[in-house]
């Protein structure tokens, strides 16, 4: 591809196209060759001109005069011996030739050349006059009479002496003239040489500059190609006829074709929705256009593009393209989520006010029931009021759940347990024609509310059953997935558990599919569904920092996908840990205000075989204690808690349960430590946080079944 270099990429130099520079270089070489050829031609020309100059000089002319004079003397004597018309004619012609030559010599440049040499000029004039003086005699020669011929010959013989004198002088002058001419020629050679050196240096410099410029452009060109090759955006160079002339690697990835397969095709084949007239002179500009692209599989995808116009070697237009399919999907997911959030807020607000009303109905109904002493008719009526109120309470709870307003009892839950439990609850309601298949991975755990998760799975399972009136299989599959950001709904990147619940039922069209999580939206007949089941699932999964999505097609069934963030570790397991003292169903009242530690300790203790009453603060611990009718073997409480301390809780509970053992836990130093001692009585057992599972197991076991030497340690 040949591309125009741009300021910045070419180091800010003037931008010439490589083609133009190559033409300039060729012109320079031709100019250089022509100059050299002209120079050598001139030298050859000058060299060849020298003999001609010699011919034109005085010595040669004088020599000719002497030859012609001698010849004329012979011809005159021949005529004198044999007077004929022919011999006369030869003699007169020779005389005329001599006459003319002398006239030229006396009147032309020679006379001027000898002007500063009077003796030579006088000798020339004497010869000329001597010859000219014979003109009447030459005219008087008669063909049949030799009269005058001999006299003329004698007169010409007399001219021999001045002629020899003239010949000698001209020979000397001729040598000087030749030397002068040679000097002048050499001078011209020197000047021409200087000129040639100047031209060679200039042209050489020009060529060096051109080569340098070509190298700079070559580097800039490679840099630019490198940039374009590494660009995340696709680039096409498109010719005036709409044919692709170049495609960069990003375009290859975008369309799934090799560049060689795209070059030569029309852009419309890959960009069928390209606005008409965009690839027309003057119409290209920087504005972004959203168009549909078509990849090698024929699938459509969304592209954002801009078109630039110019000369790009293999194209007249350059098109910059960005695949925005993922962004548009993400935007749609965000819009959908926002819509559901808005509905959730609305539902939550309604539920809040509705709750107040229901509480009044419920409270007064219960009070009235007590006051009327359960008289039959009034009781029946009031019980109906209560039932309606409780139904309303259930609805508002689901609405609050959809709006993410319910407090979840978060625990680390092994998904295989939760899914198996949901499946076992679902099986009795499936009837004979429906079956359920579960495929799970026992290594996967998530932090969620197990009861709500089971509820959500039951909700989806019941929907799956109802979607298969003729029976079929509900397949639940749990897998681990590494999700990129935005790959599912608007979840951040990370490791997730995917619970897929698939049926082969009637399926849904796109309109229905888009609304299934909206509260009160139901496709079931009136009275069979509240339209809150999937809304509750949506709210619960959102609150668990996950996402629920569904895919469906009419007649092809539906699959729900629940994605929940995976926990790094599973629920605490003690069954596999050897040499850890275990419980035997004893009840432990656990009070801890830090929720993660509360969940962890509860999980550990349950794993050890204890029954746990978990309280998130001191007040709740007192409530749980007063509501628990059986024995409580141990109070395991954090020392420092807001509002009511663990020490206060222990002191209050000792009044009603004097046999209950107490084990404190704290991250603060105990008594005797240098820093911030806790106000604990001497000898009271204290478990330091953080603790390992075996530390907890041993501390609890030691307090519940003290060895003789540690018996006094228990409260």
């Amino acid at each position: 591809m040949s591309l125009t270099t741009r300021p910045g990429l070419a180091g800010g130099r003037r931008h010439w196209s490589p083609g133009r520079l190559r033409r300039l270089l060729l012109t320079a070489i031709l100019l250089f060759t022509a100059t050299a050829a002209t120079f050598f031609g001139l030298i050859v020309h000058e060299h060849m001109k020298l003999p001609e100059a010699a011919r034109d000089n005085m010595w040669w002319s004088t020599n000719q005069v002497e030859r012609e004079r001698t010849k004329l003397v012979h011809l005159l004597r021949d005529f004198a011996e044999t007077p004929t018309a022919t011999s006369r004619q030869k003699a007169t012609l020779a005389y005329d030739l001599l006459y003319n030559r002398l006239q030229i010599m006396a009147d032309g440049d020679f006379a001027r050349a000898y002007a500063d040499k009077p003796e030579i000029a006088a000798a020339l004039m004497a010869v000329r006059d001597g010859v000219f003086a014979l003109a009447p005699q030459a005219d008087a020669l008669q063909p049949d009479s030799p009269t005058g011929a001999e006299e003329m010959a004698d007169a010409l013989d007399d001219l021999e002496e001045p002629l020899e004198k003239l010949l000698g002088a001209s020979a000397i002058m001729n040598a000087a003239q030749i030397a002068e001419q040679r000097a002048a020629t050499m001078q011209r050679y020197v000047w021409l040489g200087v000129l040639l050196v100047g031209v060679i240096v200039s042209v050489g410099l020009f060529i060096v500059l051109l080569v340098h410029q070509l190298r700079v452009i070559g580097t800039a060109h490679r840099d630019l190609e490198s940039v374009i090759d590494r660009a995340a955006d696709g680039v096409f160079a498109i010719g005036a006829d709409g044919t692709i002339g170049y495609a960069n690697p990003a375009a290859e990835r975008m369309f799934g074709f090799a560049a060689s397969d795209m070059v030569g095709r029309t852009a419309i084949a890959l960009l069928p929705a390209l606005p008409v007239g965009l690839l027309a002179p003057g119409n290209a500009h920087d504005a972004m256009h959203e168009v549909e692209g078509r990849n090698h599989q024929g699938d459509a995808f969304d592209i954002e593009l801009s078109v630039g116009e110019g000369s790009f070697g293999s194209g007249q237009y350059v098109v910059f393209m960005r695949d925005v399919s993922a962004r548009k999907r993400s935007e749609a997911a965000v819009r959908h989520k926002q819509k559901l959030e808005m509905i959730g807020q609305l539902a939550g607000g309604v539920a809040h006010d509705f709750n107040n009303l229901l509480m009044i109905v419920d409270g007064y109904s219960r009070r009235a029931l007590r006051l009327i002493d359960n008289r039959e008719e009034a009781s029946a009526s009031l019980n109906e009021v209560l039932k309606a109120s409780q139904h309303g309470t259930g609805l508002t709870r689901q609405l609050l759940s959809f709006g993410g307003k319910r407090a979840l009892d978060l625990r680390t839950v092994r998904l295989s347990d939760a899914v198996e439990q949901a499946a076992s609850l679902l099986r009795p309601s499936l009837g004979e024609r429906c079956t359920i298949a579960v495929e799970t991975d026992p290594s996967l755990s998530v932090e969620t509310d197990p009861a709500e998760l089971t509820h959500a799975l039951l909700n989806i399972g019941v929907n799956a059953r109802d979607a298969m009136p003729n029976g079929g299989e509900i397949a639940i599959r749990v897998t681990a997935r590494e999700l990129a950001e935005g790959e599912v709904a608007s979840l951040p990147a990370g490791r997730y558990a995917q619970i897929a619940i698939a049926d082969k039922g009637t399926g849904m069209d796109e309109v229905t599919l888009n609304r299934i999580f909206e509260p009160f939206f139901t496709t079931k007949e009136e009275g069979r569904g509240t339209g809150l089941g999937l809304a509750m699932v949506y709210g619960f999964v959102q609150q668990s920092r996950g996402a629920v999505t569904a895919s469906s097609a009419l007649g092809a069934g539906t699959t729900f996908f629940l994605h929940l963030p995976l926990c790094a570790t599973g629920p605490a397991e003690f069954a596999v840990v050897a040499d850890v003292p275990r419980g035997n169903g004893e009840t432990i009242l656990l009070a801890e205000d830090n929720p993660p530690i509360l969940r962890l300790a509860r999980s550990m203790l349950e794993g050890l075989g204890y029954n746990v009453l978990a309280a998130e603060d001191g007040i709740t611990a007192l409530e749980l204690e007063s509501g628990h009718e059986g024995p409580i073997a141990l109070l395991l409480t954090d020392v420092v808690m807001p509002s009511v301390s663990g020490i206060e809780v222990a002191a209050i509970l000792r009044e009603t349960r004097p046999d209950m053992k107490v084990l404190f836990m704290s991250g603060y130093p105990g008594k005797g430590d240098a820093i911030q001692p806790l106000d604990l009585p001497e000898g009271v057992p204290l478990l330091r946080k953080p603790f390992r599972p075996e530390d907890l197991a041993k501390a609890v076991h030691d307090v519940l079944a003290p060895q003789p030497q540690t018996q006094t340690a228990a409260a």
Binding site: N356, I360, G363, K405, D617, I619, L622, V644
Partner: protein, 141 residues
């Protein structure tokens, strides 16, 4: 001392802006044996009733959502004067973030609407036990 007599002995400040709800909770409290119940329609009225020395109030039962001054703002004001005053927040918002905000501000306990008389009773009993324990502790000192 039985639990019911503990509740009966409590001087309770009920802060609730909705008249119907206030009347119903009063009725519930009465059924539980509470004999000294003072009403306030919002946080400012409650602060006026508490005065500088709590005016003998043992426990505050307060709605979260109220005009002028919310339950959370009242809680902060009460805590700035009396860090130990038992404060039971009535909330329709069971949102985790709101509960955490209330805990950080020093709420003693909270009860979610809708609640039954039994649920309210359990909360009051727990708080009454704390009040009684602290009274006894102070008496012992």
């Amino acid at each position: 001392m039985t639990m019911s007599t503990r509740v009966a002995g409590l001087k309770i400040l009920l802060v609730e802006d909705q008249l119907e709800t206030q009347q119903m909770i009063r009725a519930m409290l009465g059924d539980l044996g509470a004999q000294q119940i003072h009403n306030a329609r919002d946080g400012r009225e409650a602060l006026d009733l508490l005065g500088e020395s709590n005016n003998g109030v043992d426990l505050v039962l307060c709605d979260w959502n109220m005009p002028r001054m919310s339950g959370l703002d009242l809680l902060k004001q009460v805590r700035s004067v009396d860090p130990d005053m038992p404060f039971l927040m009535i909330t329709g918002r069971a949102d985790v973030g709101d509960v955490m905000a209330a805990k950080q501000s020093g709420v003693s306990a909270y009860i979610r609407k809708p609640f039954t008389a039994e649920e309210l009773h359990r909360k009051l009993m727990a708080l009454a036990r704390i009040v009684a324990h602290r009274r006894e502790s102070r008496g012992a000192v």
